[in-house]
């Protein structure tokens, strides 16, 4: 995916930031080390002061890019889903068989990220861990409705709708395409979490992946003769 993406810029709704972090060296350092620090100490303990110390910059300079650490999380998650969406569109493009297409899409959203080579300052492996551990916190807030109106979750919702459309391509009669799509995406993150922290309530491990589980689940859900 590297060479194909190297000229592209993933774009994030611009209301999320005060100043585009892609537009300067400091901005990129904020993103790069923000990802590493959130992964290291967790989003709850993460502060702009600590990030400032880590990158040898000042707290107040970071506040010029993001209004709050919550906005930084929204930025990172939007970036992540835009990146996933791109891969989903790219991988399924020109695949004539609807089932093969859907399976490729499910693979994209459920797989463990193992390669970090798409964008120089963003470590996608680490960012994927942040999504698994922190994504829910970006929308489980009292402000979710107003932030949704501002468009902070458009990329995520659009990506889910693409998946839903591929489900309907196979079976236009299936009544729960959206719920199934959202369950696959959210459920895969959850299974990845469980396999690290609550092994006893998942079957996923080094051999069985969330992708295996969700592909079988999906195909049975939509092709069953009832």
């Amino acid at each position: 995916m590297k060479s194909l993406l190297s000229n592209l810029k993933i774009s994030v709704p611009d209301k999320i930031y005060l100043k585009d972090p892609e537009s300067s060296k400091l901005g990129k350092r904020i993103i790069e080390h923000g990802i590493l620090l959130i992964d290291e100490i967790g989003f709850d303990s993460f502060t702009f002061k600590k990030l400032g110390a880590k990158i040898g910059s000042n707290e107040s300079s970071i506040y010029r890019y993001f209004e709050s650490k919550h906005k930084l999380l929204l930025y990172l998650t939007s970036w992540y889903w835009a990146w996933i969406e791109y891969q989903m569109v790219f991988t399924t493009f020109n695949v004539p068989d609807a089932k093969e297409k859907l399976f490729k899409a499910i693979d994209v959203v459920t797989k463990t990220i193992t390669q970090d080579d798409t964008f120089s300052h963003i470590n996608e492996i680490v960012l994927n861990r942040i999504i698994i551990n922190e994504y829910s916190k970006s929308y489980l807030t009292k402000e979710v409705d107003s932030e949704n109106k501002e468009g902070y979750f458009v990329i995520y919702k659009r990506m889910i709708r693409r998946l839903s459309d591929m489900i309907l391509e196979i079976n236009p009669e299936y009544k729960f395409a959206s719920s199934l799509a959202s369950t696959i995406v959210e459920g895969a993150l959850h299974q990845h979490f469980l396999k690290v922290h609550f092994k006893s309530i998942t079957d996923c491990n080094d051999e069985i992946t969330p992708s295996d589980f969700f592909k079988e689940l999906t195909i049975n859900a939509i092709t069953k003769v009832t």
Copy 2:
């Protein structure tokens, strides 16, 4: 469920609290109004100081029951899952047909709570909303492994295992019973959230419930001939 439960006490791992809130009037007020206040302002803005003001008591008195607001959340969530587990065991007891049994269990974990009548000081409708909006925050932390070792999530995991066992009763060959069970429980909370805040990525609404979706999904997953 009221009369049957009225003599029972739901028990929560005792390491979660410093002093059992069931043991005093103040303790019960903390739980009762803690639930209402978290629902009202959200867990992130919730503080013991605000709760103290609301119940006409002192911040420091609340700290004598719970070490932190995080522990209070663990208490509430443990209580909730114990209550759900009780209903699950009770409702499925003596049901001979494995499929009917599983469906009853799925109903218990996925339905919207509409009655508040089991325990005087706990409003189960409001508590259910808190679980939907805040449950993930109880385990998406850096301390999850140590807290898991302390037994703070035993009830939740046991309840999921019960569900998994009922799945295996129908099809002992099914390879993903635990993952399916955990997906049903977590996924149902997620669908309830989506139907309020992100309607475009769910099919659930006033007519179609998460229960409908997950029952069909489950039965197709485990009885499909592959």
